[in-house]
């Protein structure tokens, strides 16, 4: 081939391997159990938010929701990778080859996208929770968890801001948007309580904040947002859903079926 016919456009060498927070640290069994809980939260939420890309109310929101999904997926990968160091599994083995009852996500993260109002209401609650969680976890005596939390909290601050701004807009927009965000908050609120329940893990593992210690700061933030939006705090009963012990909402099964289908069809393949 002569020089003239050489293509002037070539594939540039871009490093595609998004670097995981590989600290070389090996997690203890308790650290792994904890990392799976909060890692699964983010993985399931990222999986659901990914659906919005190409379907959002405006292009700017395709970008914003896509960004949030990508951030959450990054957090999940770091946490699953860390958990995997204790379990002898890779992030993909954990994401694609665990069954429903082996997942540790809380019900709130499994709730469906619904309309944009439901996605925002869910995002408000999850981001308020994750922000307080990561803020405290960044001070953890576990260097593995603290490192991941310190990185993640900066991004979660943006997710929270996104959800707060939209909550205000929807509440203060039209009659329709106000009633939609009200309904979405009512439907989502019952799943908050699960996030604040201590269990046996927290009795023996003090490197993570106790869920019960997050209740007050999270609720304070949410009440401030509701007050600014002139919305009432939903008076709903708490769901007794218990995802942390593998008892999930009926939504998780189909979410996993879709996420895992291709990887499971080719169990020996690499991608």
């Amino acid at each position: 081939m002569s020089a003239e016919t050489e293509p002037s456009v070539t594939v540039t060498d871009v490093e595609l391997d998004a670097e995981l927070t590989s600290t070389g640290l090996v997690a203890s069994a308790d650290e792994a159990e904890y990392a799976l809980r909060i890692g699964d939260d983010s993985l399931i939420l990222a999986q659901q938010l990914g659906w919005w890309i190409s379907r959002a109310p405006e292009l700017e929101e395709d970008l914003a929701l896509g960004n949030i999904a990508l951030d959450l997926l990054g957090h999940a990968r770091n946490l699953l990778h860390f958990a995997g160091t204790a379990l002898g599994k890779t992030e993909d083995e954990l994401a694609y080859f665990r069954d429903e009852h082996e997942f540790r996500s809380a019900w709130l993260f499994e709730q469906p996208n619904g309309d944009f109002g439901h996605t925002i209401a869910r995002g408000l609650l999850t981001s308020a929770f994750q922000f307080e969680l990561y803020t405290q976890l960044a001070e953890s005596s576990s260097p593995g968890l603290a490192g991941i939390a310190a990185k993640s909290v900066k991004e979660v601050a943006y997710h929270r801001d996104h959800a707060v701004q939209w909550t205000l807009r929807l509440a203060g927009g039209t009659d329709e948007s106000r009633s939609r965000i009200e309904r979405a908050l009512i439907n989502t609120w019952p799943y908050l309580d699960e996030l604040f329940r201590d269990d046996e893990l927290h009795e023996r593992f003090d490197a993570a904040p106790r869920p019960s210690a997050l209740r007050e700061p999270v609720m304070n933030v949410l009440r401030q947002v509701l007050a600014e939006a002139e919305l009432d705090e939903p008076k709903t009963s708490e769901s007794s859903g218990d995802g942390r012990h593998g008892h999930h909402s009926t939504y998780l099964g189909p979410i996993l079926a879709e996420m895992q289908v291709l990887a499971r069809r080719h169990p020996d393949a690499s991608w």
Binding site: G50, E61, G66, R77
Partner: protein, 320 residues
Amino acid sequence: MSTTVTSPDDELQADFDALIEAEQRIEPRDWMPEAYRKTLIRQISQHAHSEIIGMQPEANWITRAPSLKRKAILMAKVQDEAGHGLYLYSAAQTLGIARDTMTEQLIEGRARYSSIFNYPTPTWADMGAIGWLVDGAAICNQVPLCRASYGPYGRAMVRICKEESFHQRQGFEILLELANGTPEQKQMAQDAVNRWYWPSLQMFGPPDDESPNSAQSMAWKIKRFSNDELRQRFVGMLVPQFEALGLECPDKDLRWNEETEQWDMGEIDWDEFFDVLKGHGHCNAQRLQHRRQAHEDGAWVREAAAEYARKQSAQLKAVA
């Protein structure tokens, strides 16, 4: 007043021609012939629509991507496409058309977008083939557009081309992994390449002797190379990459011609191209319906945002 017979329009036209001749950029506030403006609006908005419709075939696999790394890369890529659509709509807006108007033209089926996106993506390997072939063809088309005479378009293209290069790379990497994987994976890769190869060659447009708008666009230095030149360049780029992948090129008649020092290609099925263009592709209806649905489902959200902004600014005025 001058006594020459030159009309003001002739002078403006002469200034415009001189700028084009001198390889200078035309900027939004410069005078430009109406036909130049119209051509650009058509081309840039079509390009923007293509980015937006082009999100769909790949978004189809975000939830099923077979590894978390691939899921992250694919999400980032589809998100980039939304970003490209935004820059391009902004570039078109500088020519005096509103984004709402362009959106309406798209969802009402009055605007064109690249026909390639009317093909379906039945397997994961399509993510590889789209990145490698479709984004590869797009890069060949778009790199010369970085020098397009209209400033905002050229500058948008510089940014877009940088990201497209990453897109092509990730597509190639997906196929490389499949081609070196299990027999089923390799077959999946070959099938996808078989399906996307010819449509990607059609992306450069009809042969030069059947491309009515090309000559004027080249004279205006919007377009720098002819359809056939770009297609030739693209095929030249693919040949060694097929070898690296260990996949077969679907064009069995492809031969290096020592005399012309070019690749002689097999016959492209232009009937298929025009058929898809006319709306008879696999997914024309689905693509438009998906976009229309997203737009309609989001109407209440956009109305709420507009109403909220109106109330906020009224409040500010009341305070001031």
